[in-house]
């Protein structure tokens, strides 16, 4: 009789790290695909699409926070948010958008340190706070270079070649950036709270007694 030596095959659902990495991969695939799906819906909103594009992280926080939090709950000791940040960074790099890397990955790493202590003891408030912190920085990771735009050589050239657009960038960059971060944090808290309710109601989460 064939008896596999792997503990994972015998005890399905054990704490095998390979299983955790693969589940993280599946959930990351879900996050990226749903994010792009939401993005494609904006095309039907006409001129409002621009606003929704700018506040995309907030929309994502409200609708798919449960996927992020399930990652944290199922594999809290496998750096779920760092892995998520790496996936987003690689997708960003494929588009030539390198600025995601230096902000998103450290943010994911910091959030992971906190959730390692929050999830096993069912400190859901702390988990939601970590999620809000992470998604706020994920939002900042995508847009922070715009803050330095008006001092850049590119902007100097743009001012010379197209003063109208340059003025618009100069006027709206900072207000948009601040409201983006505030909205991302607020929706991170509310979306995270909804997601926790959903997870607690529908999934059995093992608790470690302190």
């Amino acid at each position: 009789m064939f008896t596999p030596s792997s503990t994972f095959i015998i005890e399905s659902g054990s704490d095998s790290k390979i299983r955790d990495w693969i589940v993280l991969g599946v959930l990351n695939g879900l996050v990226v695909a749903l994010s792009h799906l939401i993005f494609s819906v904006y095309a039907f909103l006409g001129p409002l699409a621009f606003l929704f594009n700018v506040y995309h992280q907030s929309v994502e926080n409200l609708l798919i926070a449960s996927v992020y939090l399930l990652m944290a709950v199922t594999a809290y000791n496998r750096h779920p948010f760092t892995v998520n940040a790496v996936v987003w960074s690689i997708i960003g790099l494929m588009m030539g958008w390198w600025p995601m890397v230096p902000v998103a990955i450290p943010a994911g790493f910091l959030a992971d340190i906190a959730i390692r202590r929050a999830v096993p003891y069912h400190h859901w408030g702390r988990l939601v706070l970590c999620f809000a912190f992470y998604t706020t920085l994920l939002c900042a990771a995508s847009f922070w270079p715009f803050l330095f735009l008006k001092h850049s050589a590119m902007m100097q050239r743009l001012v010379a070649m197209d003063p109208g657009i340059a003025g618009m960038v100069d006027k709206f960059t900072l207000p948009f950036f601040i409201t983006q971060l505030v909205a991302a944090f607020a929706t991170g808290i509310s979306g995270g709270a909804m997601a926790v309710r959903l997870i607690v109601r529908h999934f059995a989460v093992e608790r470690v007694r302190p």
Partner: protein, 246 residues
Amino acid sequence: VTIRAVLFDIDDRVKVWMAMTGGAGAIYCVDWRIQVAILAVSLVLCGLCGAWRFVVGFNLVLLVLALVSLGITRLSPDESKIWGRGLLFILLKFGPLFTMMVFVQTCLNTSRFLRSLEKLHVPRQWVIPLGVCLRFMPSVVAECRQIRFAMRIRGIALTPGRLIKRPLETVGYLMVPLLVRSLYIGDELARAAVARGIESPVAKTCLYDLRFRPSDGIAMTLWTLGLAALMAWDQFLYAWLAGGTP
């Protein structure tokens, strides 16, 4: 030998390099003609790879925005003209980022790309989730469609009004089956991967030839030189049109 076959045959590291530099180049350049040129090149690449539906859709959006822009510029007073151009500017500026991602997604061989990453000693804890993520992404739409179909059978409509009135319940209807299904798929994939020896510590052989060939070097050099020429031309146009120093 078709152009499509040649594009698919290029080393995956070169394709990722093309996407990275194409997007970055589009952001760097400020002259609209250069931006249009980069966008056109990236759209042609997408078309050659077989993503024709995307190319047609993108061109339609561009056309509509150009018409809106023209309309606003002609009809509105001076101070609001900029809004019309602003929309087109955003699409021209960031369009190449999106189109190059579509190009990479269309012609990237995931297995070869992941083996290349392993060869570059990227940690397994990043390579395995990334590989699963890239392979699972295309099937998410099918999963969502099945869930929507099941919801329709039960008489539950996924409408914006319902989402605003009962957010938790509506999100739950869609997300809970999707999450449960994802966890099942994760478990199944993990079993299959373990049965195929993913845990084995020995160095694995690869079906693909991962060597960097001279043709890859030529493709990479041509792309980089072409992009550098466009960026230099952008600087030249700035100096010529605006009287600045390049």
